[in-house]
């Protein structure tokens, strides 16, 4: 390997620009933070730690809009994952993370390691992961590359979660051309713990050990940009790879070992953190910063899989299945024995020091000696310029698109075959959704529901996002993302507790994209306040572009809700013939960004109109009240494809049908996507109580029947459809497209 550049050469040749560190930042680091020129390793560490991915320097000002506290929040953003009180001394822990770029490049490993990473965030908090969710957005299935990406992504998520023995119980999969060159793969994990076991990513106590546990370090995932640098010039390029390979078997052992240590020997442990983006440097520097400590690490002690790794490579490697511990002095061997039992490496690689210096040694030399806080806290926040995209201003002037639907039956058939609406069971059946035997409602419903063993409680969870609405109106679209998640949680009979998010956008240096980010976060934040669902964790993924074309702004909301009585979970499909059918929430002419618009016009356009957020919230509260009192037989929220699709879905996999009087709706309105609506069925003897709870918000529209037939009278036409036929269309659409030969 060639000699690394000298500090002076770095100053002159500016390799840091390739690592996305700006000249201003470099100068600030040299002049103000260090008072000298950083050496090669130091410059690399700054570049990584000051990247948007680690520092949120661009998005931070926007993220401050989110509420992140209420009575139940025990831990908000800042740690591995957020923690929420669910009574009885227990807590639910959750977070979501994006793995968009790795998944686009190598779908199987990208998705798998995305799952692996988010699981470590959960168990580093001391919680046992009990469920996973995903949110996937691909290009259209008529493209063979997309089909391969879909297949690889789904297998990757499945193989990792299945091997770990953590059920994947809910998620979403949508298709739109804007994701063709840049797939979105967001993974969410939910953990359960006793509040007394909560851990922090903290390193403190002079003389305490910094221990490295888990897999060996290789040159995985080191920032692509650095590959071009002089440092690697004599390596055979074709043998180099940035792809991280997941080893779920090792992660399972790591999980068990860490949880054993945390629950049985809390006195040995000071802090614990997973090694995620920017590997050892970010975990160790963040732990030291949290503990207001200094740290001295000897990189020669880091278990390595490859030979000749530089300090820079060791520090920035993103090899998977590794954790960093701070262990009380004298207990190093005790800790090592626990990991030994699981056949895992556990090695002391350094100590906590007095003062605040971050010192790294490699090959007998000090390769880094800088203040801890310079890496973690002194990052220059970046102001961004923003302005409203021209397309939105233009759209506001244009006449509203109003479809005319003469044959709603034909329209419904076609909508059910749209890939975003069609049955996703061919994907989620590749996920073990039942392991741990606590899944009360698995994938295929509005929200996944787990029971909490030994209690009467349950947890409901969902991931939702719809980039189309956000693209047309970021602020209202952001509100809708939250409302859709809340609607899914409430549909299952749970009370929304809090959310995590993944904010997926294009290049934030584009003022229009930054505006989208800002406006949509503003919308989400307003909705979070009204629903009292604080944001307890999350992740920002910017630069989702392909050939200069950005994805739709796609904030994903991952919401968890509390079921007070697990015996009162509400199914999403109809129950008994004779039950009364209600439509909850008012229907307007909302077609901008709808599946109907995309299907009929091949694109989306127009203005997504604001809606009454307070009103929707109030309705949901009343609905939940009725559910908790046992007055609701089934409930399904309306989303893509509106009422028409929702009605069909409530009948699938049952033997029932419906007879409906919808004469106050037109054929087109059957497919309007006004947010905050539900189809609810109620047993006849619960009708008075239900109507009392819901008041005007619920409108009686018909009856559940024993004929497997969907019959409805609309203002301008009639529907008369075999449910079996509809179900077949819905079930076959995706498997059929996945097998397509062109």
């Amino acid at each position: 390997m060639k000699q690394a550049m000298t500090p002076e050469e770095i100053k002159e040749q500016k390799p840091y620009l390739d690592w996305s560190l700006s000249e201003d930042e470099y100068n600030y680091i040299s002049d103000t933070l260090l008072g000298r020129l950083p050496n090669y390793t130091e410059a690399g560490l700054f570049a990584a730690m000051w990247s948007e991915h680690c520092s949120y320097k661009k998005s931070k000002p926007v993220l401050r809009l989110f509420p992140n506290k209420n009575d139940r929040v025990i831990q908000g953003p800042g740690e591995g994952a957020g923690v929420v009180d669910i009574d009885d001394g227990q807590a639910v822990v959750f977070k979501a993370e994006s793995h968009n770029h790795p998944t686009t490049v190598e779908p199987y490993q990208g998705a798998a390691t995305g799952v692996g990473g988010i699981l470590r965030d959960i168990f580093s908090m001391g919680a046992r992961p009990v469920a996973s969710l995903d949110s996937l957005h691909f290009g259209e299935l008529d493209d063979s590359t997309t089909r391969m990406k879909v297949d690889g992504t789904v297998r990757g998520i499945g193989d990792y979660g299945n091997c770990m023995g953590i059920p994947t119980i809910a998620g979403e999969t949508t298709f739109d051309p804007c994701y063709q060159g840049n797939v979105l793969c967001n993974a969410m994990s939910v953990g359960l713990m006793d509040q007394k076991d909560i851990q922090q990513g903290k390193a403190a106590g002079v003389g305490n050990a910094v221990m490295y546990v888990g897999a060996k370090t290789g040159r995985d995932g080191i920032h692509g940009a650095t590959f071009a640098s002089a440092d690697f010039s004599d390596e055979n390029a074709t043998q180099r790879s940035a792809v991280q390979v997941g080893n779920p078997f090792m992660e399972k052992l790591l999980l068990e070992a860490c949880l054993e240590l945390i629950s049985k020997h809390p006195d040995w442990l000071v802090g614990i953190q997973d090694m995620g983006a920017a590997g050892i440097v970010s975990s160790s520097a963040e732990m030291a910063a949290e503990g207001k400590s200094g740290m001295d690490l000897d990189l020669d002690l880091v278990p390595q899989r490859e030979t000749g790794m530089s300090a820079y490579e060791i520090m920035l490697s993103e090899s998977q299945e590794r954790m960093l511990l701070c262990v009380n002095k004298g207990h190093e061997d005790d800790v090592r024995k626990i990991f030994d039992f699981y056949d895992l490496d556990a090695v002391t690689i350094g100590r906590i020091t007095a003062g605040h210096q971050y010192v790294l040694r490699h090959d007998g030399q000090v390769v880094c000696d800088i203040p801890v806080s310079s890496l973690t806290d002194d990052v220059l926040e970046e102001e961004s310029t923003e302005h409203k995209p021209v397309r939105i201003t233009v759209a506001e002037q244009e006449p509203v698109w109003r479809p005319k639907i003469d044959d709603p039956a034909a329209t419904l058939r076609c909508l059910l075959a749209q890939s975003t609406i069609a049955d996703k069971s061919s994907f989620y059946q590749q996920y073990d959704s039942q392991v741990r035997t606590s899944t009360v409602v698995g994938p295929g419903s509005d929200a996944g529901v787990l029971r909490v063993r030994g209690t009467h409680k349950g947890l409901a969870m969902t991931t939702d996002g719809n980039g189309r609405f956000v693209y047309l109106n970021p602020e209202v679209g952001g509100q809708m993302a939250l409302v859709e998640a809340a609607a899914n949680i409430v549909s299952s009979g749970a009370e929304p507790l809090a959310i995590t998010d993944c904010l997926n956008y294009g290049d934030p240096n584009d003022p229009e994209i930054f505006w989208e980010l800002h406006q949509s976060v503003k919308g989400m934040a307003a909705a979070c306040r009204i629903f009292d669902t604080p944001v307890i964790s999350g992740n920002v993924s910017l630069y989702n572009e392909n050939n200069g074309q950005a994805i739709h702004p796609t904030p994903m909301v991952g919401m968890v809700g509390l079921v007070k009585n697990i015996d009162r979970v509400v199914p999403s499909f109809v129950q008994q013939a004779g039950d009364q059918v209600y439509l909850v929430g008012a229907t307007r002419d909302d077609y901008a960004g709808s599946e109907l618009q995309k299907m009929l016009t091949g694109k989306i356009s127009g203005v997504v109109r604001p809606f009454d957020l307070d009103g929707v919230h109030t309705t949901m509260r009343h609905l939940l009240h009725a559910m908790e009192n046992g007055h609701v037989a089934s409930c399904h929220d309306l989303s893509e494809g509106g009422l028409g699709v929702a009605l069909a879905e409530t009948l699938f996999k049952t033997d029932r049908g419906m007879n409906l009087d919808l004469r106050n709706l037109t054929g087109a309105q059957l497919f309007s996507e006004t947010p905050g609506r539900f189809v609810v069925t109620v047993q006849p003897d619960h009708v008075p109580a239900f109507e009392q709870d819901l008041g005007d918000a619920a409108q009686l529209v018909g009856t559940v029947t024993n004929a497997h037939w969907l019959e409805a009278h609309l203002a301008d036409s009639d529907l008369n459809l075999s449910v079996g036929e509809l179900q077949q269309i819905w079930e076959e659409a995706i498997p059929c497209q996945m097998k397509s030969k062109d």
Binding site: R155, G158, D159, N162, C163, M164, G165, N247, P248, F249, M250, K252, L253, F341, Y342, D343, Q429, Q430, Y431, D432, S433, Q434, V435, R436, T437, S438, T439, V440, R451, R453, I566, D567
Partner: protein, 226 residues
């Protein structure tokens, strides 16, 4: 009757078996690590589902070299009940306690869903509480569940009534003769791909697996003779 649930590195349905036996059936059950050498004091042993050693190489191939394996083989030879579900079944075939092998599913994909099964033989320690040829439904969740054995072995399995469960409608993985579960010749070792331990509580939507554990518990510490 005291039952051991073995924990291999990568087992992950160990908890589910333990809860089904202990919490739901009230049985006397304990986890036993693969590091252990002995099963003295236990009347039956169960091998859980999951991914021992990540299913690397072949599902179940590496687990059979763990310390505990000779003790499991000894119990099988003594005629005590030995039960393996999913990965447990794969380990039992790899260890030679059951004939045949489990190949990758024909679809090449992991599959998790409930499947209809026929109880082909209800005259075993594990199935006495089912009716002859009863139709039940149990969840499957595996990528390597396609049972394979040569013709002669298959014929012998059928002739000896060692086929205990068969897929009753579609065959989800390509198993020969729709085989979902078999015993050894003596009848005290049962391996099956479906997960009865996932179907023991109404809240989870299925209780068809409960009678398997109840059968075993009522048949008690019976040893099966030659």
């Amino acid at each position: 009757m005291r039952i051991a649930v073995i924990v291999f590195p990568g087992s992950n349905c160990d908890v589910d078996l333990y809860e089904a036996l202990g919490t739901v059936c009230g049985a006397d059950v304990a986890y036993v690590s693969h590091h252990e050498h002995s099963l003295v004091g236990f009347d039956a042993v169960m091998l859980p589902g999951g991914f021992s050693y990540g299913d690397y190489l072949r599902a179940g191939a590496i687990a059979r070299f763990t310390n505990i394996m000779p003790a499991i083989i000894k119990m099988a030879e003594e005629g005590k009940p030995v039960f393996g579900t999913c990965n447990g079944f794969q380990i039992l075939t790899e260890a030679g306690l059951l004939p045949g092998a489990l190949k990758r599913n024909d679809s090449q994909r992991f599959v998790c869903k409930a499947v209809p099964l026929e109880v082909v033989n209800n005259q075993t320690l594990f199935t006495s509480r089912y009716r002859p040829h009863e139709r039940i439904s149990l969840p499957i969740a595996h990528a390597d569940g396609s049972f394979y054995a040569d013709q002669k072995t298959l014929d012998r399995l059928e002739a000896n009534h060692q086929v205990v469960f068969r897929y009753a409608e579609e065959n989800p993985n390509g198993s020969l003769r729709n085989i979902a579960g078999i015993t050894n010749q003596r009848g005290n070792v049962l391996g099956m791909m479906p997960h009865p331990e996932r179907a023991v509580e109404a809240i989870l939507g299925n209780t068809d697996g409960l009678r398997l554990f109840k059968s075993l518990l009522t048949n008690g510490s019976v040893k099966v003779g030659e």
